[in-house]
């Protein structure tokens, strides 16, 4: 598979692949990195938001 890198497209067989993830109350995140001779040449991340600002509106009582 070809991977876009800082050197252009490269075959992933030439690269070291590292993956990671975070899953907490705020987000579910995955990322993938490709390294070449100790240099990071590609990093992508995918964040799924779980929480968002929530606003409550209240009507004031009259009288």
């Amino acid at each position: 598979m070809l991977v876009n890198t800082i050197h252009g497209e490269m075959d992933d067989s030439l690269l070291e692949k590292k993956e990671g993830s975070i899953d907490n109350d705020v987000e579910s995140t995955t990322w993938v990195e490709y390294w070449l001779d100790g240099v990071l040449v590609h990093r992508s991340a995918h964040v799924t938001l779980k929480t968002s600002p929530f606003t409550t509106l209240e009507a004031a009582s009259l009288g």
Binding site: I6, W31, E33, H42, V47, L49, S52, P53, L57
Partner: protein, 158 residues
């Protein structure tokens, strides 16, 4: 300095004056939805409930990232649902993920500001996540489900 996830307080007032339009509103000059954008901000920035308008101060910079960010897909108008006889929830969620394609963002960022580019770049909401950098890759923000309990924007009455 730190970013804080929050509904921008200015937005609350602007909702009441129809400054923002996620759907159609016959009382406005244009009945079409406004254009909303998402801009990314560095961990060192200060984007929070006091933010009233998009600014490039503290915004990420890098290859293939345009100042101001990207347009947010809005194919589904806002909805509202009664949760009881006296309360309800109005909600809206972008209809597609927000993707920054083939970017290199070397300085850590952790915030996306949604703002209304049709209405003078007025701020809508601030969304934070774990610190990220991107190298010749994609950064994708997948939206929560468009429901009363999870939608990206939710206004509730009690």
């Amino acid at each position: 300095m730190a970013n804080t996830q929050s509904m921008c307080t200015s937005f609350l007032g602007e909702v009441l004056t129809a400054t923002h339009n996620f759907g159609s509103a016959p009382t406005r000059g244009a009945a079409t939805a406004d254009t909303f954008k998402g801009a990314l901000y560095l961990v060192s920035a200060t984007i929070n409930a006091s933010t009233t308008v998009y600014s490039s101060t503290g915004e990420v910079t890098g290859t293939n990232y345009t100042a101001g960010g990207v347009a947010i897909t809005n194919a589904t108008p806002p909805a509202s649902t009664n949760t009881s006889s006296t309360a309800g929830v109005g909600y809206w969620t972008p209809s597609a993920s927000i993707t920054y394609t083939n970017v290199t963002l070397s300085t850590a960022f952790d915030t996306m500001l949604m703002y209304n580019s049709t209405q003078s770049n007025k701020a809508v909401s601030v969304h934070t996540f774990g610190s990220q950098t991107i190298t010749a890759g994609n950064f994708t923000l997948t939206m929560p489900s468009n429901t009363t309990s999870a939608a990206l924007l939710r206004l509730s009455t009690t």
